[in-house]
Subunit: 613 residues, 2 copies
């Protein structure tokens, strides 16, 4: 039942051979990897203005310089990341860069910040995508969170469990649809602006006192705007998923993406200012802009719809980024092993589920409020930017290939700039949520280390000593096998179990726990009449519990045990034919089994007796 449902939802399992097929051509990769960066123009520029105008319109005019600063930053970062892709065809981005060049600790910092970044990407993109559609259909406002979660689990998680190739085909159109729409929108807007058809009044004159607050506000606006650049790193983390030549294609894609992003970001920000738009509740500024330029017709809905789609698709980027990273971490022993295993459909299913759950927690925690989520955002991103760039500098110095100085310089500039941004974000957004990230990162690192430690301990404890090899194990002393059979009475299940017991040992004890005198007596008599050739020991349990007396009995046996001896608890269990029949029986068998396996150093055997009707 569950199995068929699973098949229906995520399709039939794929064999290992088809793994190689899961590769993406550039035009598809662009759609998948760039959606995160591109879609952020839907909230990035708005965040700048939102912060600037939070305390009145006075600082509105600073939107322009901030936007330019961000565009410069974009150029630097994308160039640097093109080099990351080249240097680390293995993917994994800043984590693997840091691991190679900066050592464990820094690598874990990168991993932690990437983890937070990706999960937040999902949360932010989904909630922002929902904003887009809610702007068009205000009726949906009350269902914001429900929509978010529906998209998260019902759409993204399933599509990714099916496998990335299918998702890419599904997801190519929205990206190009969005790019097309926005470029048209910008073109039309710019034309109208130049043609002088002014929809609104020009910005109010800028009179303000230049003080600390002003500076702080401006920097914070810049920090918020930086959220537009999240996702630039996505490509370098997924180099492995490109069609060969992987590296070349990855770099090409990086530049195409940066170009489009720059155009859209610049254009939209310009038009916001030109039309002097202001943030509103339940109505995104992009929606206002489209409304102002295109009017209330199908083209407006086209913009809103493609915006929603690409934002949901952006969330999908994280699904292409985090699970592979988690699998790297798992392989290195910093995360649970099973995150490294490929599921039925050759994707890292466990990582996909984990990502979905964490993102859902963020969405629920902030009721899908994009603004609040963005306050947490970007810090992690730029932290990993910095680490990746610094790592690259060291990488080039070590390699000292032709023209390594230039490469090192480029990444050096990238490292310094992004480092400054990190500081700006951390300072200006600390009280607005960045503190949470500042707390989470060390916690995650501690967790990574604890997990690593556990796996190490385990490896030691499981390793065979040298003398065991070459047949050494065979020379271990063969001890006795004391078999204890807890019985609930005299019946065929017990008979069957004893038959097995005779096969595996000559020292068998049947143990009956009576909760009252008469039942104990009855069983003893019946046992004598049956006379199966096995001693029956009866223990009386005044508190009507079965477990304790059995445990006590076993503990007594263990004291008498010699090295090499085993104690076997042989549990007679009948298995009902229909699932609901199981509800009609107390689960003593299951209970004993579980308890002894987890808590006692004894072998637990279940001899199932399957009922026929």
């Amino acid at each position: 039942m569950f199995r068929t449902l699973k098949r229906l939802l995520i399709g039939a399992p794929l064999p290992n051979q088809s793994l190689v097929r899961e590769k993406l051509p550039v035009w598809k990769a662009l759609a998948i990897f760039s959606s995160d960066a591109l879609s952020s123009v839907a909230y990035g520029p708005e965040q700048i203005i939102a912060v600037l105008t939070a305390a009145g319109a006075a600082l509105y005019g600073f939107t322009a310089p901030i936007a330019i600063a961000i565009l410069v930053l974009l150029v630097i970062v994308s160039i640097s990341y093109a080099q990351v892709a080249r240097a680390n065809p293995g993917g994994g981005g800043s984590y693997s860069v840091a691991k190679k060049n900066l050592g464990e600790t820094v690598a874990l910092v990168a991993a932690a910040s990437l983890f937070i970044d990706y999960t937040l990407t999902v949360a932010v993109s989904i909630s922002s995508g929902t904003d887009a559609i809610i702007s068009a259909f205000p009726l949906l406002v009350p269902y914001r969170t429900a929509i978010d979660l529906g998209v998260l689990f019902g759409l993204l998680m399933l599509i990714n469990l099916r496998g990335v190739r299918e998702s890419s085909t599904v997801f190519v159109f929205p990206t190009y649809g969005f790019i097309f729409g926005i470029l048209i929108l910008v073109a039309a807007g710019v034309y109208q602006a130049l043609a002088g058809r002014e929809a609104f009044l020009p910005p109010a004159s800028m009179k303000f006192a230049w003080d600390g607050f002003t500076l702080f506000a401006i920097l914070r606006a810049f920090a918020s705007g930086c959220s537009s650049m999240t996702g630039v790193e996505a490509i370098s983390n997924g180099v492995t998923m490109f069609q060969p030549p992987e590296v070349e294609n990855a770099r090409k894609t990086t530049f195409i993406m940066a170009l489009i992003l720059g155009l859209m970001f610049g254009g939209i920000t310009f038009l916001y200012m030109r039309y002097h738009l202001l943030p509103q509740a339940n109505q995104t500024m992009l929606s206002q802009l489209a409304f102002a330029i295109l009017g209330h017709n199908w083209s407006y809905y086209y913009i809103q719809f493609t915006t929603m789609l690409i934002l949901y698709l952006a969330a999908n980027t994280a699904y292409n980024g985090l699970p592979p990273l988690l699998s790297l971490l798992a392989r290195d022993g910093y995360m649970p092993r099973y995150l490294a295993a490929r599921g039925d459909r050759l994707v890292f299913s466990n990582g996909i589920v984990l990502l979905s759950i964490v993102a859902a927690m963020f969405i629920l925690a902030y009721y899908g409020n994009t603004g609040h989520l963005i306050s947490l955002y970007a810090l992690g991103v730029f932290l990993s930017f910095t680490i990746a760039q610094t790592g690259m500098v060291i990488h080039w110095r070590r390699e000292r290939g032709t023209g390594w100085q230039i490469r090192a310089l480029i990444n050096g500039i990238g490292a310094v700039t992004t480092a400054i941004v990190v500081i700006i974000i951390a300072v200006t957004k600390f009280i607005y949520g960045a503190w949470l990230v500042a707390v989470a990162i060390p916690l995650l690192i501690a967790m990574f280390r604890k997990i690593y430690r556990h796996y190490q301990d385990m490896r030691e404890q499981l390793r065979l000593p040298r003398e065991s090899y070459g047949g050494g194990s065979r020379r271990h002393p063969a001890g006795r096998n004391l078999v204890v059979v807890p019985v609930a009475g005299v019946n065929r299940v017990v008979e069957n179990t004893l038959a097995y017991a005779r096969l595996i040992s000559s020292e068998i004890i049947a143990l009956y726990v009576g909760v009252d005198e008469e039942s104990s007596r009855e069983v003893r008599e019946k046992w004598q009449r049956w006379d199966p050739g096995v001693e029956l020991i009866v223990r009386y349990s005044p508190y009507r519990t079965i477990l304790e007396p059995i445990v006590d009995f076993v503990n007594q046996l263990r004291e008498k045990r010699q090295p090499g001896d085993f104690i076997t608890i042989l549990i007679p269990e009948f298995e009902t034919r229909r699932w609901w029949h199981r509800l009609l029986h107390n689960q003593t068998g299951w209970f004993l089994r579980t308890y002894f396996i987890f808590h006692q150093d004894v072998v637990v055997s279940v001899v199932p007796f399957h009922l026929q009707k």
Copy 2:
């Protein structure tokens, strides 16, 4: 951890010996058993007026005759039930009566209706108790359902899991407090009425057309009023819980209860009419009455508070009634066995939990709306009344003791009257919810029978054939034991498991499932170097699933199996030291174990290897 919490909440376990101590003196039994009947004056009279005035005040005047009819009914029913107690000291009320005298089917009808009745008692009493406190503190209105569930699980369930004796001590005061308060209220009200201090105008004149609708409304009002009599049977179901002489004490208690109930019901109804009160939302009529007579001072709050307490205590009556009934049903094989077992505290813990869950479902389904819940109520009650009375008539005829005719006559009258009431309720309240009961009863009966069937089938299948006795089992052919050890590699867990395998059999096969070529090759080589003297078979699993290849392998073995042979799956499992460590490992061991135990006719052995750190 869980254990200590449990101890904290429900106390230390009690030994069997202390079972006898759990007996109640009359004054305590009255508090426990009568609370249901007495508390119903808090909603019974209100329901009459609510129905009568549903279509305008015209029928208001019929409150009096209806109230009188109900009082007469009360006398008849309580006298009859005093006899039930005498005839069935074993308790179990109408179920055991019917079982003795009317056969299985009727008994199951009784059981089903009692089940519904008890669960509804809990739902109705709790929601009505919450009404009482909400009337006094309207601020609580939005938290109605939350309060209901809190009381249900946090208070009633826990206290009853602790054991009835403690609950009785806790619960004696509210009952007497309520009785005292209401009698004072009635006295004061009657005095004011006689002294002619009229708080309100006398009822509006009664002009109405005597038609079918009128009759229907009146009968329905009567039907709703009958909810005041629910709980009269409680005592006869719990005879066993009285101090000896049980029967005498039970009968005495029945009469005392009937007397008090009659006084309160009559008085309150009279005063409702005298003050011409009308139902209001979020303000019970009893609260209105107390307000009108006592004014807004501490005495008003005393009434509301004690009303709330006794209603919650009334819910508790069901906890003394249903679990024992369920244990009877379980012992007869109509309900799961474990409902018959006494828990740590010598109470029927499973029955208590079951009751709580079903009641919670009713409350949630109706958002704790007392009116709606009462529409379902009373049908089940009077159905079981009728059955009990009919059963008694037959009982007396059979016994033919001294003056059996009189006894038979009394119960005969009871049977006929309650039967008429059943018809009235079924007809008048059908569309208002009674239909649900009409559907549920046959379903429950079908379930009882299905369960009974299953236990029978099982008994047959488990019974030992005669030839097994007298050592016959020993002469069964001793077959071979084929041991299969699924291994994940070469380590000490496997070494330990093979050591055990050698003890229990000479035919051992180690099975490795490789998800890719190289790992398979590695393991095979390592195994050869290790050379444990056990053959290793490697199966390649292209779909990366471990289970299927093992199952296939086992199935092949099963075909070669001779009678008497066993196949043993020996699962090497390491147990982590800290619970969270378990999250770091895939649960293949657990998974294999569970699958084979449930689905395959093979012995499943787990050889646990406990990690030290």
